[in-house]
Amino acid sequence: MNQLTLAIRREAARILEENIVDVVIGFEAGTLPLRAQPAFITQKEEAEKLMYSGFCQNNLASYLTRRPKEERIGIICRGCESRAVRALVIEHQHDRDRLYLIGIPCTGIIDWRKIERQVGENALQAVEEGDEVIVTTRDGEHRFQRADVLHDSCQRCLHPNPVGADIVLGDPLPEGDPEQAWAPVLEFEALPPEERYAYFVQEAERCIRCYACREACPMCYCTECFVDYTTPRWAESMITPSGTQAWHIIRAFHQTGRCVSCGACERACPMDIKMTYLVDKLNYDMVQQYGFEVGASNEAQPPFAAFTLDDKNRFVR
């Protein structure tokens, strides 16, 4: 039992008992060794179910827009979740007063795919021990350096510490290095255009349009998504290049200046499609053009919602 789990249970039980919230959204143990399940705790006795580990792969903020409007919610917030909460509040999707953020400085989410790539698909047990992840399979024990098997988004995480939390459990962590965070975007940009396009095509063509990326994303909350719109239909409905490329381009574009870089979309994808390189570019541009970073403040509107006469490139062609 790790200290963090105990602290989370204690805090969840307290805020339920003191009637500060109606529900606490956290994680409980999963049915598979490398996975955890989102949990919705409404009774303080049930707080014992909560746990926390590096296998908690979802962005819990995506549940905020799914819950009943009047509910008071306690939610486990890592850096990315807390920034999503801020963005949702700025976009009037949630009322901050009805939220209680239990902040956790995050050491990164372990990517089960990276582990399965090496040990096969039949893990029997997985535990974290300090900087190591120990996975037991039918043919024995495998040890990994935690840093090596973190999800890509977490490896280049800029802000592991929660912002604006009501309580923070655990000690703050050092912030990430922007140079390292944006390096993949710049590297991709440096490739010849045909290689960039080839990579995009190769990733998008595996898409099965299950929209798990959309559903897993805390910022994709539209009741009617552009692909569902039929009068007129904007994107081809099929899993053809037209259809899947349009989906990936526009989905990413709608996240411009809104994406919190949590990587939940990629972790949800059943076809291992890389997609953070798309939104990362857009986020990078927002930083470059407008000095905007999602969740950095409680007030700043996303750049597409805020524009001025004095924008750069006034006479751009």
Partner: protein, 146 residues
């Protein structure tokens, strides 16, 4: 080879962004067949999806033409459009499209002949770089093909 090929160009034009009368008449009635005009209530109405649809359908060039920044009929529709569509161009470029294929022309009533000039420039640029290859996923007919 290139003298047979004519680039296909889609122009999105804000309906309030009136050019000087002669230019507008030319746009409305004398646009050559390889240029397709799509009028919108404001450049702010141009969803990136429209642009993407044109590109997927085989448009070699896109011209987005609207009012000068301070002269939007809806006060700031064009300001939003400018931020969005510029970024969209950066994004498509990131994915391999030639940035030259998409351009903006914020035009004032006084700028006689500018739209023709912009179109001619765009066409020349596109002739130089050749037909669009990347991001085209289905060829639909835009105007008449020679």
């Amino acid at each position: 080879m290139n003298n047979i090929w004519t680039p296909r160009i889609v122009v999105f034009q804000c309906q309030y962004s009136l050019y000087c009368e002669a230019d507008q008449i030319w746009m409305d009635t004398q646009l050559p067949p390889h240029i397709k005009l799509i009028q919108v209530p404001c450049t702010g109405r141009i969803s990136p999806l429209f642009v993407l649809n044109a590109i997927q359908g085989g448009a070699d060039g896109i011209l987005i033409s609207g009012c000068r920044p301070e002269k939007c009929h809806f006060k700031e529709g064009n300001l939003g459009a400018r931020r969005q569509l510029e970024e969209f161009r950066r994004f498509l470029t990131y994915l391999g499209m030639g940035a030259e294929r998409m351009r903006f022309a914020w035009i004032d009533l006084s700028e006689r002949g500018r739209i023709q000039q912009e179109l001619a420039d765009l066409e020349e640029t596109i002739r130089a770089i050749g037909p669009i290859k990347r991001l085209v996923t289905r060829a639909i007919t835009i105007g008449e093909q020679p």
